[in-house]
Amino acid sequence: MDDLIKRAKELLETSAVKVVIGYEEGTGNKTRALFAEKPEDAGKLIFDSRCIQNLATYLTKKEIKEKGKIAVAATLPVMRSIIQLASEFQINDSNVIVLGLTPDNKLVEFGNLVDVETFVHKFQIDIDERNKEMLDKLEHMTQSERWKFWIDELAPCFKCYACRAACPMCYCHRCTVDFNQPQWIPVASTEIGNLEWHMMRAIHLAGRCIDCDACYNACPLAIPINLLTKKMLLDAKEHFGGYQPALKGDHLMSSYKPDDKENFIL
């Protein structure tokens, strides 16, 4: 992606940013994150359909933030994450420049986050067919069938927390599972313990998940935990109206309106 390389070089040469985060060739046919701090490193930047890691997760990493202003090569899911992070006051225009990579492979540089938001709102968040099918299947199971499904699916989970680490929205310095007074979620990996962890994480993502599949892609055991977060997304759509990350406006789980329908309780 020559445009991207050229622009990244410029930003680094002029010290407009201290680091450009993008993708480079990884092991085998994989790609991985690149942190270009010198203009010549920008030459390693690539972009193609293999680049699916959500780079927004690095925007809240202490060691990266400390470097100064960051430019990030952002696909649509990354842009969505950036808007959501901005709405949660984790990043703002003074520390991030978004180098947008559009769905038709063009580079678009945004002047500010409002422009990113305008772009992002042109596209709906849609669950893909295969997962829609799976969610439908789950919907039509009885409660005990669904319980058995999840206990079985989550049984191999060994709580490596790769899902948490890869998710841009999991940026808490001290995660709920890291508290021991009280120990909200048990530490050890057991059948019930695994379920507790994933259910808790899914609920913490309600209204925040933008369906990037980073959690599923990160899981070493390819457990379809993204089904839980996708379900949260659909529920949010159904009960609280349309679903888009937005710089301003109510946060789903932290706003209260007297006319909240709460069909899921009543």
């Binding site: 690095y58 191999p156 490596c160 790769a162 680490a165 048990p186 990996s189 070493p220 055991l221």
Partner: protein
């Protein structure tokens, strides 16, 4: 020492599996789920995968489970009653299908659990395991066993090592230990006498990529290097590498209470987690990811060789394959070897 070598026809593997099952052995074999191959108790031959270069997870949980109960307690009016676990309940296990790198890893893991203090729970579990290793006919870009003193046909750590003689071929079986002989004795018809002994030509090519002695010496002077920061920028601080690794042994001890009763368990942990070393006061000796990444490499390639006379790495490459951020340990080690101090 002359190792007893036998010929095992390719169809005999299924027969061996069935015989072992009939002898009430729990067989821990690779099986594929969601596209990932890991070890689990196999009910039948049809569930056993054979077309894998390496499994996603190691088989260390056969002796070091991810969660191991170490005691039960119960409060009553007379005080407290505490019970340890009953070692008699540990089943006999046949570990089927591990690679030579993993077989060596068992020894490296055991050295940690027997360093001065002997962990008898671990030792008892391991004592009940018979290791049926399978040499590597193929390798990929993640493998580097030969750089850490191993090789794709290494017999160390296996009770029997099977080497397939080419695609769709029969197997040379090397009977290495008494446990291996015990397996042969329950299925002797399947282990035919043979003159075939040369297995080298069937093994995968795994070029040596670094010199582990050089790296070990380099690491003694490398603690303050900025390289650790550069290498770990993309690390996300999860525990995937530690959990899939055959030699990582870091653990936590956690209690769970249910009213008046409860238990204490030993469970996997990782030095890569940000809170691994945090004190209750809030002081964290390793509070940046670069320090934690450095700890991983130093521990495996410098501290363990120094204190336990074994490396903490078998070159299986699982950590790199499992890493969601593509932290390729082989690349990082080569980079350390090439770096100027």
């Amino acid at each position: 020492m002359n190792i007893d070598k036998r010929l095992v026809r390719k169809d005999s593997l299924e027969k061996l599996f069935d015989i072992l099952k009939q002898n009430s052995k729990t067989i821990y074999a690779p099986s594929t789920r969601n596209g990932k191959t890991t070890f689990k108790a196999a009910e039948s031959w049809t569930g056993v995968s054979s077309d894998y270069i390496q499994t996603t997870q190691s088989s260390k949980d056969v002796a070091f489970p991810r969660t191991e109960k170490i005691l039960d307690y119960s409060k009553n009016k007379d005080g407290m009653s505490v019970k340890g676990i009953d070692l008699k309940d540990i089943p006999e296990v046949v570990l089927w299908g591990i690679r030579p790198c993993d077989a060596i890893g068992i020894g490296e893991l055991s050295s940690i659990f027997n360093w001065d203090y002997k962990d008898e729970i671990y030792n008892n579990r391991l004592a009940k395991v018979t290791v049926l290793g399978f040499s590597c006919n193929k390798s990929d870009e993640y493998c580097f066993c030969t750089s850490v003193g191993g090789n794709p046909g290494n017999t160390a750590g296996s009770d029997i090592l099977f080497t397939r003689m080419g695609e769709g071929g029969d197997y040379i079986a090397e009977i290495i230990t008494e446990k291996g002989e015990a397996i042969v004795s329950v299925a002797s018809a399947l282990f035919e006498k043979t003159d075939i002994s040369e297995k080298g030509k069937y093994l995968a090519e795994v070029p040596v990529q670094f010199n582990h002695e050089e790296i070990r010496e380099k690491l003694d002077k490398f603690f303050e290097s900025k390289e650790w920061i550069e290498q770990s920028l993309k690390c996300l601080g999860c525990g995937a590498c530690a959990y899939v690794c055959p030699t990582c042994a870091c653990f936590d001890i956690q209690d769970e209470a249910h009213g008046k009763n409860g238990s204490r368990a030993r469970c996997w942990d990782s030095c890569g987690f940000s809170h691994f070393t945090i004190h209750t006061s809030g002081h964290n000796p390793r509070d940046v990811q670069s320090a934690r990444w450095r700890q991983r490499i130093m521990h495996k390639f410098s501290y363990m060789p120094e204190r336990l006379a074994v490396y903490g790495c078998t070159g299986c490459g699982r950590c790199s394959r499992a890493c969601p951020a593509d932290m390729n340990i082989l690349e990082h080690l080569i980079s350390i070897q090439e770096a100027t101090v």
